[in-house]
Point group: C2
Chain length 185, copies 2
DNA sequence: GTCTATATCAAGATAGAC
DNA sequence: GTCTATCTTGATATAGAC
């Protein structure tokens, strides 16, 4: 944790891990500040409110996915199964990391009833996620089927994250990974 | 909302709906009190802490499921498909109700990293849920397959609840209901 | 850019009157 | 059993010195 001079980018990265672990409402500005090696007051130099930093966190996740993960689905140098495998692996890494569940899923469940501000971005992420998956599956299945399978994969993934948190194991997530992968030959 | 004389049971029922809608951390004791038509101070006459009332809420949900829903899975007067249909319908009603998502899933994601107290009961509910489903599916599938399918159904259900909240529609949930039901002939 | 100090407010929780 | 009043703590946010 830097004692002198940090920047917005670093803070967003750190905030992501804290929000993922504690959730939105259970994360205090002091938690974020501490994780960044800053005093509470200093934190406000970078972000004027908790809502705004969470918004930036979500946007940064989306940017990363758009840049590094979703394009995998359209990489024609990879065969269907290999493409799906790479996609799922990268997606898991991007969205989960060690412990604390899925930042996107967690934030959806926790805030979608209250914080309307987050909904558009969360929706977009899920939409792009599903359409990327659908694109891969469409290599092998008819359009309607591929769409349904993609939706199902995302839902099962989020359900698996929930179970993984409850049982403190990632075996469930690995099983879902294998099952999803088995859909492509 | 009663201005005079309520009781623990009523309060637990009301608290369930408030927690389901707002989540654990985003629900204040004053919210619970207000929903019960009580002053904050009066609320403490019934429950000494937020943690304890949530615990009672979860226990009440479990009791209800144990009494009214899980037994359906073992009702031999019903054929497989009819049994599954009744089970899924009752389960949805018990755990979801109008808006606010799934109290079990929400609480799992929101608190499982912090409030270890809730984990045992949440685990038990999921375990019994899955084994009830497995029992129905085992009428038609081999044991291992039935178990995996049951896990999958629960995960997909929770994923569908998440999507339903985000998109403000229960169509997704209905689709999952149909897909789950189609597993039995 | 970071700090300390502080204002403000809401939340969890308690005390005691009725 | 319910109320009002209050305590205490913790959280968001701001101000101003360094």
């Amino acid at each position: 944790m830097p004692l002198v001079k940090t920047n917005k980018e670093e803070i967003v990265k750190t905030a992501l891990t804290v929000f993922r672990k504690n959730g939105y409402y259970n994360t205090a500005m002091s938690d974020l500040a501490e994780a960044c090696g800053l005093q509470k007051g200093s934190f406000y130099h970078y972000f004027p409110s908790k809502e705004l930093i969470m918004a930036e966190v979500l946007i940064s996740v989306q940017s990363y996915l758009k840049e590094k993960v979703f394009p995998i689905a359209y990489d024609e140098s990879l065969q269907g199964k290999a493409r799906l495998e790479k996609f799922l692996l990268k997606m898991g890494k991007a969205i989960l990391q060690q412990d604390g569940g899925c930042i996107i899923g967690n934030t959806t469940l926790e805030t979608s009833g209250q914080k309307v501000v987050f909904k558009p971005i969360l929706k977009e992420i899920f939409e792009e996620w599903k359409s990327s998956l659908k694109h891969i599956l469409a290599l092998q299945y008819p359009d309607g089927t591929a769409g349904r399978m993609a939706d199902q994969m995302v839902m099962e993934f989020e359900g698996a994250v929930m179970m993984s948190q409850l049982y403190d194991t990632d075996q469930i997530l690995k099983d879902v990974f294998v099952r999803s992968l088995s859909k492509m030959r």
